[in-house]
């Protein structure tokens, strides 16, 4: 201290010397630094009081992260702040690029600053929650080094998420097609575009979607039931109209498409067995879905028939539409399988799929 006459309050603060792994040394107010348990312990052990004996910080702390950490400490060590203020500061504080955020988490962890570790971990978790693996890899620059087979085994049943499986298959197909594209250039362009958009659209649908795998399953069952369509021709047409309770797919509490159907007496005798049968199918077919789905066609080698490709494209479009439509409507569909006026959703004829369910389906523009 070199100004004994005018003793300003700042002069009364004691300072601590910190050294980062790169050798640089800096001075920090003690009251700020002791907010970090690591530094606090070192001070108690007698370190840091002078420039010649600075506290050596763990390797994971570089000058940039140290500065951030000290900012955090400087704000939070003041006792008078309200929770609202602290929260607001935290929200602004974590706005930084992902790389920096990861480094900061690591540094805070090595300094044992648990509240900051929690804060940054929560932010990182938010970046992961609800995202597709591809997006997560992009956010964090994670190398995609699993083979397709590895991605599917043995967790396919545990993720139990047809969206992931679908996505992986589609990516595999996309990669193969990109390879093809290099060989055959012009002809495939239009189909390629359709293809790309389907995949991207699917991504955005899936991202925005809360997960309606039931639709996926229903679609699958629809395929199988197409063969049984003939038998169900005589299903009473009332089924279609019975379900007018249009509860949104995510909003139903107790009642669901099935039980609301069962409440309709006219329907009880006929439609209900079909529903339960279908649902049984859904459950038992769960495992098979992974194995012998029609979509496995796309994993066949490079010589994909353009015709089959178109079929696959259309099926993919259907899928996406299904992911976007509501459960009660789905049930209506199921019930009305035998009805003539409901067009088949799997028309292979190349006429495009007409649909009565046009909820903001961006894919409509793809229909030829």
């Amino acid at each position: 201290m070199s100004e004994p006459d005018v003793i300003k309050p700042e002069m009364m603060k004691s300072y601590i010397w910190l050294q980062t792994a790169d050798g640089s040394i800096q001075q920090v107010e003690q009251e700020v630094a002791i907010f970090c348990p690591f530094i606090c312990h070192e001070i108690h052990a007698g370190m840091g009081s002078s420039k010649t004996y600075p506290i050596s910080l763990p390797a994971r702390v570089n000058p940039v992260t140290l500065s951030l950490i000290l900012d955090y400490c400087r704000f939070h060590q003041v006792p008078g702040r309200s929770n609202k203020e602290r929260k607001s500061f935290d929200e602004k504080f974590i706005r930084m690029d992902t790389n920096r955020l990861c480094e900061l988490t690591s540094a805070a962890d090595s300094l044992q600053l648990k509240p900051l570790v929690d804060l940054t971990s929560r932010a990182l978790a938010r970046m992961i929650e609800g995202k597709t693996p591809e997006e997560i890899r992009e956010t964090f620059h994670i190398p995609d080094d699993l083979t397709e087979e590895e991605k599917l085994e043995p967790l396919k049943n545990i993720t139990d998420d047809p969206r992931i499986r679908l996505l992986n298959r589609l990516y595999a197909r996309k990669r193969k097609e990109l390879k093809e594209k290099e060989k055959l250039k012009n002809v495939e362009v239009e189909a390629e575009h359709v293809d790309d958009r389907s995949v991207d659209e699917l991504l955005s649908f899936i991202n925005g979607e809360n997960g309606d795998s039931k639709e996926v399953k229903t679609a699958k069952n629809k395929k199988k039931n197409r063969r049984r369509k003939e038998q169900q021709k005589n299903a009473p047409p009332v089924c279609a109209n019975s379900n007018t309770s249009s509860s949104p797919s995510n909003g139903t509490k107790e009642s669901n498409g099935v039980s609301s159907v069962s409440r309709d007496d006219r329907v009880k005798g006929h439609c209900l067995p079909n529903i339960s049968e279908l649902l049984k199918l859904q459950d038992s077919e769960d495992d098979r879905f992974a194995l012998d789905d029609d979509f496995d066609d796309c994993d066949i080698g490079d010589g994909i028939d353009p015709e089959i490709k178109e079929q696959i494209d259309r099926e993919v479009e259907d899928f996406a539409r299904r992911l976007n439509s509501d459960w009660p409507e789905r049930v209506q569909e199921l019930l009305s399988l035998g009805q003539e006026r409901r067009p088949s959703l799997y028309s292979i004829n190349g006429n495009g799929c007409s649909t009565k369910r046009s909820n903001a389906s961006g894919l409509e523009k793809h229909e030829k």
């Binding site: 992902t98 992961i128 890899r137 964090f140 994670i142 590895e150 993720t159 139990d160």
Partner: protein
């Protein structure tokens, strides 16, 4: 996109912290990120399964089946200890798998267990639950609990929460007293109406349900009590005939109490019984009292409040809610009580905040407010909220109650009197 991986090589503890902040479904999905991420999820020690683990399916049997499958697969692929296991489902009911899960968990030295099947029938807790010796926290919702004869308690249990659990009175009392380290107990909607609690280390007690008789026999460390008591006709009859002094039975053995909260008929419950000859305990640590649904036309309940106030010299915050039953206001009121029973020199040295809600302007309410205002030298806030039933009465004029309160003598120079009228 050729940068190096930011996140994969962070320390395991950080990855685990991040994964615990994700729903399990997202956790499992990290397995497809890269080869290093393949099994990071599998060593998670805190597992929380709920209906979001499987995609939204509205058919309950289907959802239940999928959830069971998810849990089975997850546990099979899991590696390492499991410290906390929570399963919370509106769809899952009785499941034979539950027994297997609990057996599995008991072998993994599970410490915190939380099982809540909120839909449908009660499930019967399997006997392997009682062999989870390392349990420190147990929370069960809607189950049937029959501890086996050989059961000697959970030696490490600190937190026990039973909500809507079928268990006999003896069994639960034994369970409580045999878990000697028990610190917090929550019992909601319990079968038996009578309960005696012996828990030498208990610091927090939460009770809710229909009770006739609660006795805190050995709870010297109890610091926080929150009781919501409801009654039916049988219990009401019992109240009238009861001869025990509930105040001492309940509050006689809790000298360390810091916070007392009572809802429903709690105040009435502890007002029953004859207190003559009983030694007045002093609650030096009691800082906060919250009593709701107090009948201000019932003199005994007022006396209970007064007794509590006078035995809590360090009280800092008080909240009293009236019973808002205007029909009771017509009975004759014994106001002499205030002159006789209230010591003039009583001082609430630490009382800073008082909140009175659901007030009707009844005489006893006014006297209590007056008493508090006049004897609280450091009071900062007196917040009164009045229920007004008839809108035509008090539209433009200031409430009479408010005017009267303003006329009371205040011991504190700094006190702010806040008044609101709630129209119904």
């Amino acid at each position: 996109m050729h940068g190096e991986d930011y996140i994969t090589d962070l320390p395991e503890s950080i990855i685990e912290t991040i994964l615990t902040k994700l729903p399990l479904r997202d956790v499992v999905r990290t397995s497809v990120l890269s080869s290093k991420w393949r099994y990071k999820w599998a060593t998670l020690t805190e597992l929380e399964f709920n209906d979001t683990c499987v995609s939204h399916i509205h058919h309950s049997a289907l959802a239940a089946a999928k959830l069971v499958k998810f849990v089975n697969q997850f546990l099979l692929l899991h590696d390492g200890p499991i410290n906390r296991f929570t399963i919370d489902s509106a769809y899952l009911q009785r499941s034979p798998y539950l027994d297997q899960w609990l057996l599995f968990l008991s072998r993994k030295d599970v410490q915190e267990l939380n099982i809540g099947f909120c839909g449908g029938d009660w499930f019967r807790a399997p006997s392997c639950l009682f062999s989870c010796k390392k349990l420190t926290a147990l929370e069960l919702v809607r189950c049937v609990l029959h501890p086996p004869l050989y059961f000697k308690g959970f030696p490490n249990l600190k937190h026990l929460s039973l909500k809507q659990v079928h268990i006999t009175r003896d069994a639960v009392e034994n369970l409580i007293s045999s878990c000697t380290l028990l610190e917090s107990l929550t019992l909601l909607y319990f079968d038996s109406r009578k309960l005696t609690i012996r828990a030498p280390n208990l610091t927090c007690l939460v009770l809710e349900g229909e009770f006739e008789d609660i006795c805190l026999e050995n709870t010297p460390m109890l610091a926080v009590i929150s009781v919501a008591m409801y009654i039916n006709d049988d219990i009401a009859q019992h109240y009238d005939q009861s001869s025990s002094c509930n105040f001492y039975q309940f509050l006689g053995g809790v000298p360390s109490i810091q916070r007392l909260t009572g809802h429903g008929f709690f105040t009435k419950y502890i007002s029953i019984g004859n207190t003559l000859g009983e030694i007045q305990p002093t609650y030096r640590q009691l800082k906060v009292i919250d009593l709701y649904q107090v009948s201000f036309d019932n003199l005994k309940e007022i006396m209970v409040i007064l007794r509590l106030l006078l035995s809590a010299p360090n009280l800092q915050a008080l909240q009293i809610g009236g019973s808002a039953d205007a029909s009771l206001a017509t009975d004759a009121v014994d106001l002499d009580f205030w002159d006789k029973e209230c010591p003039r020199d009583a001082t609430f040295e630490q009382l800073k905040s008082v909140k009175m809600t659901q007030m009707l302007g009844l005489p006893h309410e006014m006297r209590l407010i007056e008493f508090l205002l006049g004897n609280s030298p450091v009071l900062e806030l007196m917040d009164v909220s009045q229920n007004v039933h008839d809108e035509t009465d008090e539209n433009d004029d200031e409430s009479e109650m408010y005017m009267e309160i303003l006329r009371f003598e205040t011991a504190s120079a700094e006190v702010v009197i806040a008044f609101t009228e709630n129209y119904e």
